[in-house]
């Protein structure tokens, strides 16, 4: 298990290194000098040079790459070209909204999907299953911003339980913060839950047809006992894969929901940075997201091994 973890960890490091080179190279290829973009076409040559030095643009590309990576290691992501504030500060502020929102939505979607998927699999072909299949089909087909608008209409306008948008901030207490993230989290979670429930169902159905499920029944386990004791854990591998993918999506892909609820999240930050050609912000956020995705994959790999002993012994 230790060897497996180490191997995964090394592969994580290599992926991160490769990703940082690719991201840096791609952003460098993009035309335009940030300094002249900031100062406009009529800028003086010496002002430009000064700004370049200030922004750290006056050294070789290799040196700039090393500065960028070295800075990130100690939490220094550079200074935003447009806002003239440290990028790390901007990202941290947004991350305090996006990360809890993603986790909240993921928890909700898992909490909905597991019981629903297991319920449907246990009742294959019967009305309960058909209802679930219909509902999840709808959940996948309907875009999440529509759910968002409906939630606002019902729970913020007709019933004054939640605010229609905005984020209260964590300084007013944990529950106040969670309260303002609830509607967005639900809107994000519903389509994800629909996908996850279907994956859970089909994965479990595959397992239910396995020989060892019949063995379990022959031992005297009831259908329900066999399902819970031998079915669910074996069905988890594909489900974990999807959960990993969903988390990455929830972290960065929630821009529409952030827009609907006026949340100061990462998605909106990237959107604004791209519009303003604030390349250093884009670069940093992309790198952060890559880091998140790779880390989540690493955790999913560890979860695989925890679930399936066959992966542990395979070195």
């Amino acid at each position: 298990m230790l060897r497996y973890t180490l191997k995964r960890l090394i592969s994580l490091m290599i992926s991160l290194a490769v990703a940082s080179v690719v991201i840096f190279a791609v952003i460098e290829v993009a035309p335009g000098d940030p300094a002249s973009f900031m100062l406009g076409v009529n800028a003086q040559e010496d002002t430009l040079a000064a700004l370049r030095a200030e922004l750290g643009l006056d050294v070789t590309k290799v040196q700039r790459y090393l500065n960028w990576v070295g800075g990130m290691m100690v939490g220094d992501f550079g200074t935003s070209y447009t806002y003239r504030t440290p990028v790390s500060q901007m990202i941290t502020d947004r991350l305090w909204v996006s990360l809890p929102l993603a986790l909240y939505a993921l928890t909700l979607s898992t909490a909905i999907a597991f019981p629903v998927g297991i319920y449907a699999a246990a009742r294959r072909g019967r009305p309960g299953d058909l209802t679930v299949m219909g509902a999840t089909q709808l959940g996948i087909a309907v875009p999440n911003f529509w759910f968002a608008m409906m939630l606002v209409l019902i729970f913020a306008i007709n019933l004054p339980w939640f605010n229609a948008g905005g984020f209260a901030g964590w300084d007013k207490g944990f529950w106040t913060g969670m309260h303002s993230l609830t509607l967005p989290a639900i809107a994000l979670a519903l389509p994800q839950a629909a996908i996850l429930a279907r994956v859970m169902r089909s994965s479990l159905l595959d397992i239910l047809g396995e020989d060892f499920m019949r063995t379990a029944r022959a031992k005297g386990l009831s259908r329900r006992q066999a399902l819970w004791r031998h079915g669910v854990r074996n069905a988890l591998i594909p489900v974990l894969t999807i959960i990993g993918l969903q988390f990455s999506f929830l972290l960065a892909g929630s821009i529409i929901i952030e827009q609907v609820f006026y949340l100061p999240g990462l998605g909106r930050l990237v959107f604004q940075a791209i519009s303003a050609r604030d390349l250093i912000v884009v670069e940093s956020v992309v790198m952060l997201l890559v880091f998140a995705v790779i880390t989540v994959n690493f955790l999913v790999d560890l979860a695989y091994a925890a679930v399936d002993p066959r992966l542990r012994s395979r070195t």
Binding site: T215, N234, S313, R314
Partner: protein, 532 residues
């Protein structure tokens, strides 16, 4: 007083009759073998006793376990009986265990689910039964996972689970079909011992009549969901009445007579062949180790000769087959067909490839289901520079289909319209259509029912007569190899340990391993004379 009494059991699934008026009975300490070909309903009978029939099954008749009528039991009652009073062992040990739980947990589960003992005692009992089935905890700790065990060892775990609570009745559904002969002999010995020791009744489902004759006190022969004949083993073997029973026994020991092989020069020459597989690295920067699957194998196959290759699973016979076919490169030695190398450089030599064809084991998996027979059979034409076209092509297809006992009309059909035996005929037609110089039969009759197997063996003998076939027949089934080959090689752990004329190897084996193999193989009693 019998332990299990099955009386006029009928079972239908969604209105289709599967079992019709099946009756049998088992006394404590008795072994009753239910036998028959696929589709005879023997497994369904076992599942019906367990009340684990598929959804939609309707059961009629009587199932009596001691004084208890199983058909009147509720599902909860049956759960209490399964595992405690009735244990069951299945065919496929590789998949019968949950891969994510330890073997100790799985054996203990049988005990704990019935709340038969507190966990500590359950653990002790699990160790005890695992020791009894030949897996002592000092060598096979309870913390092992199924994937760390071999097929035979897994089957022992399945048996340990089934007998942990000393059930009165044990049902074994083809318990040794997926195992090698030497392992099979050990498992059968274990089952026999358990029956005597615990005074259990054993309901054994098997298609293998040699196993039946060897093990059973009573035989029940089934066909199409009906019992055609039943009685004490000795009696049935001497006085079998029903023609189906006779046909089964005759087909099981079916012999064919091959034409005399032509004495001629070697066609296939295998010299010092080595095939290594790289094993995963133990540590990150270690040089990976290798597993030598084929170890300095040399032999020659003469034109017109029928050569057998026998050995247990993992001995390297399939690897050697792949190397001969040019599907995988070798790490040492040479393979020549008709003087030409099968591998030139590291690429398979197409000029040689077209002189060889192969027939595989699985008649269901080895055809593309979306192609018609005509296209399936003519696939080897792709190897030719100028394949026949138009009416010549049609003639060749018709000729081949006729040669293997089908009709030319079959060329427009899809593969799902054929039975397993017919599919294997199509596979043979596909192999023969470009008149290859060498055919490889890789377990080509192993998946077939005995009656179908007998027909295919007859067909091979006929084709030998008509086309002067040269083939390498790879099989784990010694009785088949004995009748269908002139010469045989015995392979073990990548090496050929014995080679010689088939008849002399079988009647007077020299190597200890060959002797073990032949002794372990269950033998059909000599009923040929009685029946004739």
């Amino acid at each position: 007083m019998s332990l299990l009494e099955v009386n006029n059991l009928s079972l239908s699934i969604h209105g289709t009759g599967i079992l019709k008026q099946v009756s049998l009975s088992i006394a404590p300490g008795q072994i009753v073998a239910v036998t028959g070909e696929s589709g005879s309903g023997k497994s369904m009978t076992a599942l019906a006793v367990m009340q684990l029939s598929p959804n939609g099954a309707e059961i009629d008749g009587a199932l009596q376990l001691n004084d208890l009528s199983l058909l009147n039991c509720s599902e909860a009652d049956m759960c209490a009986l399964r595992g405690a009073s009735i244990g069951m062992v299945f065919q496929e040990p590789m998949t019968a265990l949950n891969p994510v739980n330890t073997i100790g947990d799985q054996v203990m589960e049988t005990i704990l689910i019935h709340k038969a003992m507190p966990p500590k005692q359950a653990r002790a009992r699990a160790e005890e039964v695992l020791t009894r089935v030949g897996l002592p905890p000092d060598q096979f700790p309870l913390s092992r996972y199924p994937h760390e065990l071999s097929g035979g060892q897994r089957q022992r775990v399945v048996i340990a689970m089934a007998i942990a609570l000393r059930p009165k009745l044990l049902i074994a559904d083809e318990p040794t079909t997926a195992l090698d002969v030497t392992t099979q002999a050990q498992i059968l010995e274990l089952l026999k011992g358990l029956v005597t020791e615990y005074n259990m009744g054993l309901l054994m489902i098997t298609h293998d009549l040699a196993v039946v004759a060897d093990m059973a006190d009573q035989i029940v022969v089934m066909r199409h969901g009906e019992v055609v004949e039943s009685g004490a083993t000795g009696h049935i073997l001497k006085h079998m009445q029903h023609p189906y029973t006779r046909m089964l026994f005759e087909a099981s020991g079916h012999q064919v007579s091959l034409p005399e092989p032509a004495k001629s020069r070697p066609l296939l020459e295998v010299t010092n062949v080595i095939r290594d597989y790289r094993l995963p690295r133990k540590r990150l920067f270690d040089t990976p180790e290798h597993h030598r699957a084929v170890d300095h194998v040399s032999f020659a196959l003469n034109r017109g000769e029928r050569l057998g290759l026998v050995g247990e699973s993992g001995c390297g016979k399939s690897t050697l087959t792949k190397a001969i076919l040019g599907l995988e490169d070798v790490q040492g030695g040479t393979i020549r067909l008709d003087g030409q190398l099968v591998f030139s450089g590291h690429k398979p030599n197409l000029a040689v490839r077209r002189k060889m064809q192969v027939v595989f084991q699985d008649p269901y998996g080895s055809f593309n289901p979306r192609h018609r027979v005509a296209r399936l059979v003519t696939e080897p034409f792709y190897l030719l520079d100028s394949p026949p076209t138009g009416s010549e092509r049609q003639d060749r297809i018709a000729e081949m289909l006729t040669a293997v006992g089908l009709t030319p009309d079959d060329m427009g059909k899809y593969i799902h319209e054929f039975s397993g035996g017919q599919r294997q005929r199509i596979a043979i037609a596909r192999a023969l259509i470009i008149r290859p110089e060498l055919i490889l039969f890789d377990e080509a009759v192993s998946a077939l029912d005995v009656s179908v197997r007998a027909q295919i063996l007859d067909l091979l003998a006929e084709l030998c007569e008509a086309y002067d076939l040269t083939y390498l027949f790879i099989s784990h089934d010694l009785s088949v190899v004995r009748t269908i080959t002139d010469r045989v090689m015995v392979m073990r752990a990548g090496k050929i340990v014995e080679e010689g004329d088939t008849e002399s190897v079988f009647s007077d084996p020299q190597h200890q391993y060959t002797k073990n193999l032949i002794n372990a193989a269950p033998k059909l009693p000599d009923i040929g004379q009685i029946v004739a």
